[in-house]
């Protein structure tokens, strides 16, 4: 039987078939080798590469945001702290019709028009994939209500977050500043400083004030959680955890209660006050009125409030103490007097006869004294007590602009003090070089005369005036003004102290210094321009009033205050330190359009010093008196 089978196999065909089969076998082997080669390539030579890719697939790193450091005043009062609260957040990129979604959300939790506006503003400032809060500080009831309706709102989430709060509100707002959401510009800056990694997960950073300038200390170090995630991004397990390190706390040199006293003393007036401890440079009070509520900025300010603040004629966002530029007026005179003595252009007994004006030799132009007819015989002491202009016109002329510039700049006028918040302006102490550079004009002798009474090109900030006063009060020793006293770590240990060492000490003749200081004490006594503010003081204090012109006066025109609209009225200035012999506090006060330094600025200073030295709170009557005094027509 099998023979017949064999017969059917044509030998040639069989051979042909077997050849083809062998060829196929070779083909199979070849392709299997190809597969093997590819395996080897992927699994041996490229293994590292694919291993990395697989790990990147698998592991996602999520940041742990550190708690921001707290800010305290010098007595431990909290100025900025964090609290935990729930926010309702939306990722706009996941939402189709945002308007409709928010309307529907509003049926579950309360969403005010203000929230919508703020959200709109946030959207304009952020990237689309970011999660943005539509509501903050949800109540427990609202959280529960949303949780029950959550299925209706994909792309909307409740998150527990730490919020920054400034319990003192407007008080010291210009010092503490505020944090706000990180915007594109902040990101660019962070990237330039290689700081981006530490801000992964952070949504806020300091925008102004201490919050901004001590951002590095306050922010802390971001921790990381390595998590295994699946393809859908769900967390399977935590692989490792590097905890965040909270930011350092700050103790300010500021005295919050003193600050509040000072702010209250201003009433509704605009202005600035800076109080410095002469022996350390610690800033005790730093007022810029009006202020603003920094809490508005933390979650993104709504456009209504923003317009209100930004467009207000009172410019509440302007830090007047740091950035306001005002001619120092007569508060410039003590430094002029000291210059005259030190440079031996004057000696205390030397007197002039003030007939009410000064003229340069060979000129008919009259530089008028504020007092028509003049002060009569005036020596150095009297020149300060009654604030004689004519005396300083002559002195300025005798000193010359170079001497004035070189001497007075030692007191820090016309340059940045280097205080530890950003945005300080340098002001202007005029010099020949400056005029040439700025106006392409040479300096005329006539330019010098009004510089002598702190007018002319002179521009200073209230901070600079306080700094100069502190140097004077400290007999020539300068400490850099600083708002932060200590940086504390998480265990409340002091990490560093700010500015303990003096910047420099001026080599001044003690007799000259004493002559000026004696005169400044008499300013606050009967007969002096600040006699009103000095009345019944329980301590001896020194001071100098000043008035800085807002508009220029034409020659021969009589200045009539009531005729000038309120905003064009002179600014009132007062610099002071107390107690006169061993000063604990030096300060400058500026009241915008306040008229005369003696009547509006000096009483504010008095209230501040009364509280600081005696612990005496100003009476309501005293605060009102400041308001009243502006009506009286009395000059410095």
């Amino acid at each position: 039987m099998s023979r017949t089978v064999e017969l059917r196999n044509h030998p040639r065909e069989l051979q042909n078939f077997q050849l083809r089969l062998a060829f196929s076998a070779g083909f199979v082997l070849l392709l299997f080798l190809l597969l093997f080669a590819r395996f080897s390539y992927l699994q041996v030579s490229q293994r590292e590469h694919y291993h990395t890719l697989a790990e990147a697939n698998r592991i996602s790193i999520s940041p742990i945001v550190p708690n921001r450091g707290l800010i305290f005043d010098r007595n431990g009062e909290v100025l900025a702290h964090n609290y935990s609260a729930y926010t309702l957040e939306i990722v706009p990129s996941k939402i189709g019709d945002l308007e409709a979604l928010i309307n529907e959300l509003a049926t579950v939790v309360e969403i005010a028009a203000r929230d919508r506006k703020r959200f709109k503003k946030l959207m304009e400032e952020s990237k689309r994939f970011e999660s943005l809060p539509i509501r903050t500080r949800l109540s427990d009831v609202e959280v529960a209500r949303f949780a029950a309706n959550r299925y209706r709102f994909p792309g909307v989430e409740i998150k527990a977050r730490l919020f920054r709060q400034y319990p003192k509100g407007e008080s010291a707002s210009h010092v503490v500043g505020y944090i706000g959401r990180i915007n594109d510009k902040d990101l660019e800056r962070l990237e330039a400083n290689n700081g981006l990694a530490n801000y992964r997960g952070s949504h806020h950073m300091g925008k102004i004030g201490i919050e901004q300038s001590y951002e590095k200390e306050l922010h802390g170090i971001t921790g990381f959680e390595e998590m295994e995630t699946d393809a859908a991004g769900r967390v399977i397990r935590v692989i490792s955890r590097t905890p965040a390190i909270s930011g350092n706390d700050l103790t300010l040199s500021l005295d919050a209660r003193l600050q509040e006293v000072a702010e209250k003393a201003f009433g509704d007036r605009r202005g600035a006050l800076v109080a410095i401890e002469p022996a350390t440079g610690e800033v005790l009070a730093f007022v810029s009125k009006p202020g603003f509520d920094p809490n508005l900025f933390v979650d993104g300010i709504d456009s209504e409030n923003w317009d209100l603040l930004n467009n207000s004629i009172d410019r509440p966002l302007n830090n007047r103490a740091l950035r306001g530029l005002y001619p120092p007026g007569s508060t410039f005179k003590p430094f002029m007097a000291l210059a005259g003595l030190e440079l031996k252009k004057r000696w205390p007994r030397h007197a002039i006869n003030d007939s009410g004006y000064f003229s340069l030799p060979g000129s008919t132009h009259r530089f008028r004294d504020w007092k028509a007819g003049g002060h009569g015989v005036v020596d150095l002491h009297k020149s300060l007590v009654v604030s004689c202009d004519t005396y300083y016109y002559g002195l300025a002329n005798d000193l010359g602009i170079d001497n004035i510039f070189n001497f007075v700049s030692q007191f820090g006028l016309g340059k940045k003090t280097g205080i530890d918040i950003e945005g300080e302006v340098s002001g202007l102490l005029p010099s020949q070089e400056w005029k040439m550079a700025r106006h392409k004009q040479k300096w005329y002798a006539g330019d010098t005369i009004s510089v002598g009474i702190g007018q002319g090109y002179n521009l200073t900030t209230p901070l600079q005036l306080a700094f100069a006063t502190a140097i004077l009060a400290g007999n020539g020793t300068a400490f850099r003004p600083h708002l932060v006293k200590q940086v504390l770590n998480n265990n409340k240990e002091v990490v560093r102290e700010i500015a303990k060492e003096p910047l420099y000490t001026l080599n001044l003749n003690p007799d000259n210094l004493q002559a000026v200081r004696n005169a400044l004490v008499d300013v606050t006594r009967p007969g002096g321009t600040a006699a009103l503010a000095g009345a019944d003081a329980a301590y001896v204090f020194a001071g100098k009033t000043g008035t800085s012109q807002v508009i220029g006066m034409k020659q021969g025109e009589k200045y009539v205050e009531s005729k000038v609209r309120e905003r064009f009225r002179d600014h009132a200035l007062f610099i002071t330190y107390a107690p006169a012999e061993n000063p604990k506090i030096a300060l400058s006060v500026l009241v915008e359009n306040g008229g005369h330094g003696g009547s509006t600025a000096a009483p504010i200073a008095r209230m501040v010093m009364d509280y600081y030295l005696l612990g005496k709170l100003p009476s309501e009557a005293a605060a009102e008196a400041v308001e009243q005094n502006e009506e009286e027509d009395e000059h410095d």
Partner: protein, 366 residues
């Protein structure tokens, strides 16, 4: 004792134990890999084990059928298959944009699956009939017998199945001794018709080809499969990440990981060593198939054994080639390992025929 020996003999007399061992080892590998791929889903594994048992039963049945009977039904099966394909084209159910299934009242069938066996059977039968007087005309007829169902399946569209059927038919042509010159000519014609084929391809098919050339250009779309599977394989390294420890697999990065991409799971967890062993195992089965073909006594059995064996190889190569990113993504399962009953049955039906060829007396009526 004797009774049980007789039963054993009855059960095993037409079973090729060599081939069976290879198949069982592969199936076992498949079940283990599936267990891992489905995150220890015993239900799916059991389901697959049942599929395997059913397929093994069918294999046993087929192995018991002498080839003469099988040969006799080659033509009817082929004709029925063509009619069913026609039915699909006219009344088929559309699923995922493809018309592949036919509802025949009590169940749904996929006639293209049937054609995987019917086409080589038909061609082998045809060549066997004209064995003595093989002429070019016979090749032309056989080619038509092949091209007709292939085109019908391409139109469904089901590129993977069409490709497998085309290759199974081509292997028959090749093994009958089709001259190299004609094959060369066919190749030229084929290559020349590629642009035409391209123009008739569906968008998703074109995308698959484009994706092969550069998977990264559509990393989250069509390229995602290939990128994730190559990552899985490459990160497996030489030793693999260990059974059930593949991160790509268990964290859901691998798509289709229990079916068409199951090789990536195996490869990630068992590494280059596992891959090599698997290839060797497949080689053993293929080798046994070739030995059976070489020993077959008739033109029909030789051709059918050779075609089945080489088609089995084609499955392996196309599937692995796709998973490792050297072939486009086409729906071809990894034989004996991928989850799914239909292809398992078809595959073991083929092995049943191989066993029948090997174990039945090599006797054919003249």
């Amino acid at each position: 004792m004797i009774e049980s020996m007789r039963v054993w003999h009855y059960l095993t007399r037409y079973v090729d134990s060599f081939l069976l061992s290879g198949i069982l080892l592969l199936m076992l590998t498949g079940l283990f890999t599936l267990y891992s791929a489905t995150d220890a889903n015993l239900g799916r594994v059991t389901n697959q084990a049942v599929n395997m048992l059913v397929a093994l039963g069918i294999m046993w049945l087929v192995a018991n059928i002498p080839l003469q009977h099988i040969m006799r039904i080659a033509l009817p099966i082929y004709v029925a298959g063509i009619l069913l394909l026609l039915g699909v084209a006219l009344f088929g159910e559309i699923n995922n944009g493809a018309r592949r299934w036919l509802n025949i009242g009590f169940t749904r069938i996929q006639p293209s699956e049937l054609m995987k066996i019917a086409v080589p059977l038909m061609m082998a039968w045809y060549f066997d009939k004209h064995e003595a007087t093989l002429r070019l005309r016979d090749y032309a007829v056989a080619t038509l017998l092949l091209i007709l169902p292939v085109l019908m399946i391409v139109r469904q569209p089901d590129l993977g199945t069409a490709l497998l059927i085309a290759s199974s038919g081509f292997y028959v042509l090749f093994l009958t001794g089709l001259s190299w010159r004609i094959m060369g000519a066919l190749f030229v014609v084929g290559a020349g018709s590629l642009p035409i084929l391209w123009s008739t391809m569906h968008d998703y098919q074109r995308r698959r080809v484009m994706t092969l050339l550069d998977p990264t250009q559509d990393a989250l779309g069509a390229g995602y499969h290939t990128i994730q599977s190559t990552i899985a394989i490459g990160s497996g390294g030489i030793l693999g990440k260990g059974w059930q420890h593949g991160t790509q697999t268990h964290l859901d990065f691998l798509p289709e990981r229990s079916t068409d991409f199951i090789f990536a799971v195996f490869s990630e967890e068992f590494g280059l060593i596992g891959n090599s062993l698997l290839l060797l195992l497949y080689l053993v089965v293929i080798g046994r198939g070739m030995v059976i073909a070489a020993n077959a006594s008739t033109q029909f059995t030789r051709l059918i054994a050779g075609s089945i064996t080489l088609t089995f190889f084609t499955y392996i190569f196309v599937n692995i080639g796709m998973v490792i990113g050297i072939l486009p993504v086409v729906g071809v399962p990894l034989p004996l390992i991928s989850y799914g009953g239909t292809s398992m049955v078809t595959m073991l039906l083929g092995f049943g025929i191989l066993m029948s060829i090997q174990t039945h007396p090599k006797l054919v009526k003249t």
